[in-house]
Amino acid sequence: MNEKSQIYPILFMLAITIIFVGILATMFRLYEPKIKRNEEQSYQSQLLLLFANTLETKGIISKDNLLKQENLQENFSKFVHKLPLDLPERNAYEVKTDSEVLGYCYDILGNGLWGSMRALLALEPDKKTILGLVVYSQMETPGLGARIEEEGFRSQFSGRALYENGKLVDLVLIPEDQKPERDNEIRQITGATITSSSVLKMIKDEIVKFDMDTLTTHKDKEEKGL
């Protein structure tokens, strides 16, 4: 079959691999900056969006001006301040104007059905009430679990109290077409029970971690008189 030696297939394979991996590596390097920029802009815009209403009602800046692409980076640096955090893979932000703190934002991590998910959880300045939630990265089924990104699902979290009588509230899922009767009920996405409960679990597990860490960090700063 091969009058040429056994070396030829290996050489051929090697050559093809080098050519195509080379093409891929080049494409990747070429587009990497743009892809990173897209991700960064999406992140900044989604974080700012959580506080857009607050900023607009206080007359500081209109929603349109806040989220305009040219102004994104500038607005982000102006209003959002990253807090020092000891937790790996997560971030905490303080959102404030010159005169007052508008709230906090935690960049949390959780596990869905198909892969990990990340969300931005915005809290009121008292850190006890949710201002808003946006899931900014997930790998769930498009059209099904991925609907946790939709306004209809995540708007349910706005205004929810995190604590009741000093204890963390246990959020529970109810069917999508049912009307919530108690304060801890969240309507799930029909057919995406696991994904919906993953979101609840993520909030519950992560909040505890942040509370311990950010509170410690702040206490440290206060003690040191910073």
Binding site: F12, M27, K34, I35, P142
Partner: protein, 198 residues
Amino acid sequence: MTKKEIFLVSAFKENSVIRQILGICSSLAVTNLMMNSLIMGLGVIFSVSLANLTISYIRNWTPRSVRMMVQTLIIAAYVIIVDIFLKANMPDISKQLGPYVGLIITNCILMGRAEAFAAKNKPIDSFIDGLGAGVGYTIVLLLIASIRELFGFGTLFGISIMGSWWTKWSIMVMAPSAFFILAILVWIINNRYYSSKA
């Protein structure tokens, strides 16, 4: 066979999904929305036609023992190129497709066409065969998705068709419904066009 014949056979007479039962996994996953099906379909058309072209071009130099690895590598490379391109230029769409780009690499249609056609035919013919297979696949996907989206969400391509009085059929949103719809589609097509063969 003429170029036109190659295309038509690949797209319709020997349709990859209905007749050859290939590409099923993605047919189940992305057909819950028409937009997803369209994008997946376009990705497959691009990948399978170019992969066929390349594989056919080097077919006379490809040793038999590494044939499959070479085909797989080339297919994977084109799919990743599609993925990188989407991520950079159409990030929203890329987000929608996200996990399913990987599924194009393992879409049996690509390997199937490479083995069955590109490995033995001329480059341009293989390219057209790939185009046909991709187009045929996309049409089937859109057919299934039209039913699933219409009854599951009341929309088509995101445009609301049914009013708010419509109770969504949850089963249409879940993957098993695609099994049944595809089975019915196979049934109809077999009956209409292939009654003698069945």
